[in-house]
């Protein structure tokens, strides 16, 4: 290496040496607070993290279901309109193409989450949290996963024992 290229190399190390430790990024994103994100921050985690206040029972959920859900998912979740999924089925999955209704889920929080973020299909995110708890309770009770008088709230919902809990295998654990 010539003296000149050695000097250049040393100079570059001086300039970029520190830079590689603190990678240069454009930094164009604006700071935002968790408070600002609340309208989008709807996800509920399996341990109950982010479940909102409120509660509901199967009896409270039944009339809401009849009014807003039955048109697609069928009366009592059993006979859906053509092309739509039933919500109720026995927890029997001994065929590779068995139909997966709510009884398939590993956690009851999945049901609450999908109702709150995605339903009703044509008017999503119009249900209040009590209604979402009540609908979750109603659908769980139709599947005989909870009792007819059980109350669903931020404490009870994550504790619901789903029939398939513990039967799931992580397909590629080394990628987590």
């Amino acid at each position: 290496m010539s003296t000149r290229s050695l000097l250049l190399s040393l100079a570059l190390t001086a300039v970029f040496g520190a830079g590689t430790a603190l990678a240069e990024t454009p930094g164009l994103g604006k700071n935002i607070t968790e408070d600002d994100i609340k309208p989008w921050n709807l996800d509920v985690l399996p341990d109950g993290t982010n479940l909102p206040p409120g509660s509901g029972t199967p009896a409270q959920g039944a009339p809401i279901y009849a009014q807003k859900c039955a048109v697609c998912h069928g009366e009592k979740g059993e006979k859906p309109a053509p092309g739509y999924g039933a919500l109720v089925s026995p927890p029997k999955f001994d065929k590779i193409d068995a139909f997966k209704s709510v009884s398939y889920y590993e956690f009851a929080t999945t049901l609450f989450d999908v109702i709150r973020r995605s339903m009703p299909y044509t008017t999503p995110r119009t249900l209040n949290d009590n209604e979402v708890y009540a609908l979750s309770a109603y659908v769980l009770s139709l599947n005989k996963i909870i009792g007819e008088n059980d109350v669903m709230d931020a404490q009870s919902l994550p504790k619901v024992k789903m029939p398939n809990a513990g039967k799931f295998i992580v397909r590629f654990p080394d990628r987590i």
């Binding site: 989008w40 590993e106 999945t110």
Partner: protein, 438 residues
């Protein structure tokens, strides 16, 4: 065999007329074959119509448009739709692989699955928020991200339910489009997610992130942070232009080699978590029932696969003679290293030529010269990747994953997910092609 060799001047490498792939180089051994064919052709040219100027050669042509469309003679090269009347449910549009060549799927023909229609997103109002287990939550506009350093890469995207009709106990009759139309391949350009993670600063407790779209379902999936730091991208461009609406305009998550549904379209929010969210799609649709009531979750990878597109169902062979067999191969675990082709239902195999350059987690086109003698044959392809994974035979696949008890009647049935076994095309003596199991 001897007779075939003397006619083509190219040695057979496997049964039923598969020729040495080096014949495709256009030199040496193929030259001899071409000369022979040329001499033969000149003897029969008396049957051809005399050359003349057609009307389009005698007048000025049409106006040159600002955005060009394919020729009107190519109107059949379209995606097939599962919900053409736009009912209140999901819709699938499948890529016509049997009508395409090369490796890049034209953006207009890229497969698209939409669970609640196509949102009409104003790119100036769209925002991407990154929050959760981070030092400083941030919000980005498309204009912000468009100023970031970008990377360009080839990448296939495949629905976890692609090829699902092949779980059927009897071969589902359909084209490569019906069987395998939920995979496509593009050149993607965007900002590495690791760059944005650097800016928000990840809490060491962050092991997962959820990505959520701006569609009406706010569809979301959980992804390991490991993948986010490895090669995940916020893609802004597809084949050089902004993303198509059906592919996530104005921005989508791209997770090279991972299940299509995880590559969240219209991405508006990324939240760093210490656990997976167990969203609807990961808890139900993309969790697989395997024999013995064992359920898989987090089947991230689209595993090594190949299928022959030419010739395939929907084509017919016009008599014995030379054909090129070709198709696509790809793997979620790296570059394709080898594709073998069989014309006798897997009894003997010849190595296909791979059309380079071969990119990781992307389509490669394989090609195999073939001289058909007019007898019934079964064409198959089988791929290997650089991680040492090999595409399973159907017998191996069914032994591990099972099949339906009754034949699958519709490509919309999706009896299960993540099928990657060998596709077999049976060709009868008339040149008609059917999907078969062999």
């Amino acid at each position: 065999m001897t007779e075939r060799r003397s006619r083509s001047h190219v040695p057979d490498v496997a049964g039923n007329g598969l020729l040495d792939r080096r014949a495709l180089l256009g030199r040496g051994i193929m030259f001899a074959g071409a000369t022979a064919a040329g001499a033969g052709a000149s003897l029969t040219s008396a049957a051809a119509e005399p050359l003349k100027d057609d009307p389009w050669s005698l007048t000025m042509g049409a106006i040159t448009p600002p955005r060009q469309e394919p020729s009107r003679f190519e109107k059949n090269v379209v995606r097939t739709l599962s919900n053409p009347n736009h009912e209140f449910r999901n819709s699938h549009a499948r890529t016509p692989h049997h009508l395409l060549q090369g490796t890049v799927t034209p953006a207009a023909l890229h497969f698209s699955i939409n669970h609640s229609g196509l949102p009409d997103i104003d790119p100036e109002k769209h925002r991407l928020v990154i929050h959760g287990l981070v030092r400083q939550p941030k919000i980005y506009s498309l204009e912000d991200l468009s100023r970031y350093p970008m990377v360009t890469r080839m990448g296939f995207l495949e629905c976890g339910g692609n090829s699902a009709p092949m779980f059927s106990s009897e071969p589902f009759q359909g084209t490569a489009q019906a069987l395998h139309g939920l995979v496509s391949n593009s050149e993607w350009t965007g900002v590495l997610l690791s760059t944005l993670f650097e800016e928000v600063g990840l809490d060491p407790k962050a092991k997962w992130f959820l990505a959520e779209g701006a569609d009406s379902l706010a569809l979301h999936r959980s992804v390991p942070v490991k993948k986010g730091l490895d090669d995940a991208m916020i893609a802004l461009y597809q084949n050089g232009e902004r993303l198509m609406p059906g592919n996530g305009y104005p921005m989508r998550l791209l997770l090279p080699g991972y299940q299509g549904n995880m590559n969240i379209k219209f991405v508006r929010r990324i939240k760093l978590l210490d656990q997976p969210a167990m969203s609807f799609y990961e808890a139900k649709t993309y969790s697989q029932i395997t024999p013995g009531e064992r359920f898989w979750k987090f089947h991230f990878l689209q595993e090594v696969k190949s299928f022959i597109t030419h010739p395939s169902a929907g084509h017919s062979l016009k008599g014995p003679g030379f054909y090129e067999i070709s198709g696509v191969a790809y793997s979620g675990t790296g570059r394709i290293t080898r594709v073998m082709v069989s014309a006798d239902g897997g009894k003997s195999w010849g190595q296909a030529a791979l059309q380079g350059p071969v990119y990781p987690q992307a389509f490669v086109r394989f090609r195999m010269p073939w001289r058909w003698d007019g007898q019934p044959v079964v064409l198959q392809s089988r791929a290997w990747d650089e991680a040492g994974n090999v595409q399973p035979t159907r017998a191996e696949f069914v032994a591990a994953r099972g099949q339906t008890e009754r034949p699958v009647a519709s490509p919309l049935a999706f009896p299960n997910q993540h099928y990657n076994s060998i596709t077999s095309w049976g060709i009868d003596s008339k040149g008609e092609i059917k999907h078969v199991y062999a």
